[in-house]
Amino acid sequence: MFLRTKILFLFSLLLAVACSGGPAQKRVIGCEEDISGLKVGVVTGSCYDMDLSARGDVEVLRFNTEADQANAIVNGLVDVGVHDEVVFAPDHLKEMGLKVAFKGKESYPAAFGFRKSEKELLSAYNEFFAQATASGVVDSLRAVWLDCDGQYPDPLHVYPNNEPGEPIVVGTAGAVAPVSFRIEQDWFGIESELMYLFGEYLGRPIVFKSLATASIMMSLQTGDIDIMMGCVFVTEERLQRFDFSTPYHYYHCSYFVRDDDAGRSSTSLWQKFKDGINQNLIVEGRWRFITDGLWETIKITLLSILLGSILGIGLCFMSGSKRRWIKQTASLYKAFMERMPMLVLLLIMFYVVFGGAGIGASSIAVIAFGLNFAASAGGVFRTALDSVPRGQTEAGLALGFTRFQTFSGIVLPQAVKKGLPLYTGQCVSLLKGTSIVGYIAIHDLTRASDIIRSRTFDALLPLLVVTVLYFLLAWIIAWLLKLIFKKTCRV
């Protein structure tokens, strides 16, 4: 009896704690002092990240994209989010159930970043910008993109991109309207237009590259891109590593909170789903992000499997060698690859090993994933071969088959039968593993959902679509492997 009371008491205590926890307290947030003690969401690497971390009296939670940040506010994961004033269009805000609590006092200069060694390009840009300012072009761009309360012109002005010269590669982290964003193959937003105009001015084509905020500075440093943009603010720290152009605008920051008054829309679930499909896939041909990403994911996965399997066969024979040092080299390689996080390997390959070597990011990803896959595939091959008893080889030899005939006609089919499920598993986990290639600016399936989410701020649907596609891909891979080996390995 006593025990039961005790348990009941403990349980209610837990319940009380659970209820009181989280950002449930109602507080009026009207100025910077009010957020003291709250959870604040920022985008990783943005200058708010550093400023707020320096404050010390708030808990800073970092998110990779604006969409994640917005969703965190809506879901109550954080009390307040800090971002550029222009990042969420006003009507969009309402739709998402967000509102601006207040605007920050300070403003930040936004500019284009250049490598320190590219003084010429920098001064060319500054010259161009001075001219454009004088001729009123900059003002008109501001009017179109920044002073319009989210009412962008329709249709948008598309710039030709067929200048004859050597292309300038511009990396953008944000992919956010009205700074820089993509519809199908074209880029829009104030920064993109400035870049297009700069390209016209120089007579060189502009190529945009969408990168994760966390990796954009690294890419600029290694020469993977020539100019970085995406609402990059000029800070003391950044000035030590990069050169910055004349700022084109001073942005204020906004403090966003959940809009509890936003009326819950009365639309049915099905209608919501249909709207979601429309918003995330149909409008602006956004499904094309998905198909492009899908193709990239398939390409990287298949090529990595191919490369990794070839290397894996070598590794398998090495680990079966009678010579000790060959065997040890193989097991050392395996141990190294198994213990190395795939993302770390990918970043090292991209920035260090092939940094600035002029090899495409996709090829680097294939090499990195191939090297990693070799270790697991080699292990699978070895296990499969070892699972065939030695007696099978002896029986084959004793019948008069040569070593090769015995291996290919007797041992291999049995090994394949045993190893195929394991191998399929490894291939599928490789497929899933490729979802991190977005870190090195590859537009794969996962990155496609990120891009769509950064435009629509819908967390669920793009992720759902991508999940289904990964599932189907995994299923197709398993089916293909089964088919291939059924056809090739029988009497």
């Binding site: 099978q392 002896e394 019948l399 005939q405 049995q414």
Partner: protein, 363 residues
């Protein structure tokens, strides 16, 4: 097919530097049509020797000539030899992913380029011969050990070999299944003129089926002769001990402080192990009287307990080294004890040997 083996040896070297000499110096001539059984204790290199004949094992020295050609020379095609010389393994080694019939036709189809229909017809005929036609379409994993071995024999015969090597074909089988496999081999030996070399522990079978028997011991062919000679009148005592299946237990009593109780318990265990527990009390009693009373003044004393399975004879022998006359005739021998021993035993043999004087008590 004539096989000639000259001065074959095999040394395994361990990673720690030590080495193991499995075969010391093996010589023999085998001619076409002979059926040879190789018998001998475990670990004397019988299987190693057999596996050398088709090149599954490489000798450390010596040469093997098949029809005059050295199979160890460079460039000799072992796979060509193996097509003519089949092998049946202790552990069957049927191909696990093929049905019984596929197992049989796989090699003829691939190696003799036989067309599938002919191969199937011949395969079925062979399976019928070994009584496995009914199971042609099942996978080996569903068969019993004896059935698997019969399929393995059919698979081997499908290549129409001139010679077949049998590597302990019944050692992995339940006692109930040994018979079916042996009768298939027996039939082969009778009906075909094939050369057969069989490593086996089945003495009765070896005696019946073979034209010649090799007794291998300590890495040598110790004795080579007709079944009659090997099983009835072996020249070497090791051969005799082996074919008569004599088991021995030895003690050396060097002082009166010897652990007699320990000896007693070891003897009991010996009797139980060789299934003669009814002899246990008599044996220990006789040994006690002999060692502690009758022969207590004739140390050192070697005591050998022996069991001959073939004649089901149990005996205990007492050997006094260097003596030439019987101690029983001497003064001061305890007559009462000796009488008890005589009463309990079937026969007492007193003999002078090259090592010393021996008293053997058969019970």
């Amino acid at each position: 097919m004539n096989i000639s083996v000259r001065h074959i040896s095999k040394v395994y070297s361990n990673p720690d530097g030590s080495s193991l000499r499995v075969l010391k110096d093996v010589n023999c001539e085998i001619s076409q049509g002979e059926v040879i059984s190789i018998i001998g204790p475990s670990g004397t290199g019988k299987s190693t020797f057999l596996r050398m004949l088709n090149g599954l094992e490489t000798p450390s020295g010596g040469e093997i000539l098949v029809d005059g050609e050295n199979i160890l020379s460079k460039g000799y095609s072992l796979s060509r030899l193996r097509k003519r010389m089949g092998m049946v393994f202790q552990s069957f080694n049927l191909f696990g992913d093929m049905t019984v019939l596929e197992n049989v036709i796989f090699a003829p189809c691939r190696l003799l380029k036989m067309d599938v229909e002919t191969a199937k017809a011949e395969g079925m005929a062979l399976l019928r011969k070994v009584g496995m036609a009914e199971k042609a379409s099942v996978f080996p994993s569903t068969l019993s050990g004896g059935q698997k071995q019969r399929v393995a024999i059919a698979r081997c015969l499908a290549m129409k070999p001139e010679a077949v090597l049998f590597d302990e074909p019944t050692s992995a089988l339940d006692p109930t299944m040994v018979g079916e496999v042996l009768s298939v081999i027996r039939q082969l030996a009778r009906d075909t003129g094939m050369t057969m070399i069989i490593v086996t522990h089945e003495m009765e079978f070896a005696r019946e089926v073979s034209t010649r028997v090799f007794f291998m011991n300590e890495g040598l062919i110790y004795e080579d002769g007709t079944p009659e000679q090997i099983f009835k009148n072996p020249v070497h005592s090791a051969t005799k001990a082996f074919v008569q299946r004599i088991q021995k237990l030895k003690f050396d009593i060097t002082s009166p402080d010897f652990d007699f109780y320990g000896m007693q318990s070891e003897m009991s265990q010996f009797c139980i192990k060789y299934n003669v527990p009814e002899k246990r009390d008599v044996l220990t009693h006789i040994t006690e009287e002999m060692t502690q009373v009758v022969l207590k003044d004739f140390l050192p004393l070697h005591v050998v307990l022996s069991y001959n399975a073939q004649q089901s004879e149990t005996a205990v022998a007492f050997m006094m080294e260097g003596r030439t006359s019987s101690p029983l005739a001497e003064e001061g021998i305890d007559d009462i004890s000796m009488m008890m021993v005589r009463a309990m035993s079937k026969e007492i043999i007193e003999e002078s040997t090259s090592r010393g004087f021996r008293i053997k008590v058969i019970v």
